[in-house]
Symmetry: C2
Amino acid sequence: MVKKKAQPKKPKAKSKEQETPKQVAKKLEGIGQEMVKDITKLKDPEFRTQLRGRSNVMFDEKKGTLALGDKTTTRNFLNIGHARKFMQTTMVAAKTRDYLNHNKTASIREIYYELKHTVPNSKENTFDGQTESDSVIVDLEHSVDTIREKLNLHANPKGTLYGDITLKDKMHNNDKFNCLKLGRGGWSVMSRLEPEEIEIVKVNAKYVLVIETEAMYERLVEEQFARKNKCILVSTGGQAARGTRRLIHRLNQQEKLPVLVFTDGDPYGWYIYSVIKQGSMALAAHSDYLASPEAKYIGMTLDDVETYELQNVTEKMKDGDIKRAKEMLEYPWFQNKEWQRQLKKALKEKIRIEQQALANKSLEFVAKEYLPRKIKDEDFLP
Amino acid sequence: MVKKKAQPKKPKAKSKEQETPKQVAKKLEGIGQEMVKDITKLKDPEFRTQLRGRSNVMFDEKKGTLALGDKTTTRNFLNIGHARKFMQTTMVAAKTRDYLNHNKTASIREIYYELKHTVPNSKENTFDGQTESDSVIVDLEHSVDTIREKLNLHANPKGTLYGDITLKDKMHNNDKFNCLKLGRGGWSVMSRLEPEEIEIVKVNAKYVLVIETEAMYERLVEEQFARKNKCILVSTGGQAARGTRRLIHRLNQQEKLPVLVFTDGDPYGWYIYSVIKQGSMALAAHSDYLASPEAKYIGMTLDDVETYELQNVTEKMKDGDIKRAKEMLEYPWFQNKEWQRQLKKALKEKIRIEQQALANKSLEFVAKEYLPRKIKDEDFLP
């Protein structure tokens, strides 16, 4: 893991984010044309992508997000160890270009099934499992410097949006709908939320509150928290799905709304926060699309246990949480005194506190006292 | 597990389903008043509930759903083995009555936290974990013959609704919204969907298609399947949450819409179907609220593998699936030749086939051929 300032070499985030399907398809075609050139020159065709893994992940302090370094890796058709992956990569590139040209999208499971077959006159399958196609998709994302969503691929959707925000779906009859007017259920966040498809028409809110658990989301809806505090609620249902992270990113970067993240008070919850804010190591190259570097953490903290006398409703930290806390202590993006203190406190006390434990005060406490007081005092972690 | 015809003794489904919060609160008060009577007579106060577990679960062939038998069990305050649970039950009864009277709802995790405290002058906690409060909630549901949703309690929400159906949320500004006009995202189904709160204003559809995976749901939305086939789509995201089952039940029983269930072709998917149709053993007493006995199964089946030449995209059945298939062979509600044949075929071939494997034909295949042909031929499993 390298810790250094990023070199601004790549095109700016804004232009990448606004690439149209046509432009992305062009890039994919570019890969194919290079290969054809090589072949006609009787040269070994080559495919180049960024090296991933911790050795090439760095923390871009200026942007406040994770990023990939400059190391690349190549794959050659005539290298017997590369040939299979080479074939898989060209298959996925050709298929996603088709999707883009025909306005189709597919889940990463579908493209796996769509491309899987036995190579004629052999017993060899094109793909032997989804991990093979997934890995090739990641290669391709890095090779054309985009995200899978712009290749018209997606993972499963998860997450709910609620509040005074009007969206327009340009691919669905130009539907325009306000997410404060869908009853208490809210809008089911899609797996892909690209600006050229889903337009944020209007937001009438002072900030975005991102919530880890659906039950706490339902609590805040019941307490009319969004209306009374003029904010947008986004529930993630655990680790945020890519579509939900893209939505939060757009509200933060495009709409310039402050983002406050509210999770359980345990290393897993804090990690959910850091993925929303700085990005993840696995997707370090995609922070420009997915991260919300100005996000702040509102709770739960272990200090809350003392401040609000919640000693009776803490739980023991699990082994996985302890391991995660130790790892997080070392991450460059947790090198500030507030998080170091919090993580060390967790490792010392070995307790965790859930969002819903605030119900021990009263059901309304979270909406009437806990959140408003933290917001008034700007009592956030960085 | 008893297999017999149910005795129609309890009040009819319809009246139970339409009970108002006031009526349910009255029933809870009734329990308290009985106890007070006993105490003033110096009698040992008693709490009666239905016996659960397989020995009291039966399959009601007339209704086509699971049901509980007549066995009951009592708990006495002066029995030292019962005293703790007795106290917990009265706490939950009193608190849910409060919710009902003050128009509040709570998740089952919140009520646990809300009621958890150390009994004064002791080291005894009221509850030592959520399993304790969950179990008391179930007792109470059975004792007053209702579902937790009518005690204003809920579990986590999950599931999405899409199609030409207009809902009204009477507890949220009387919002009226059509679920075909929310872009491709759809409406996030709430954890509680009681008729006195969420009104189904209008449905313009010939049937309801329930889908196991979110990715298949997104596929069918992209293919405009709902519009072209005049149907409602409900995605469950795996095993259906209670709110989603309640929604399907209401569409089936109240709106008289046929329900077709579309899952992966494996014992887990078939079990998801059976829970939607006949109910589950754990919630046998609640089938009148949650089951959709007229539901039919549209796929995937292992016959599809041959019909559509999908041999190349099957997967091996896991051990858990094999165990489940063996259990299902014995369930009274799987005693028909179609399911017996299907389950035996699965145990013989030991393969499974996913919904998304249909992408092997083409992305559009499921929407343009597979589902329309099955519907035209009424090629369903019972």
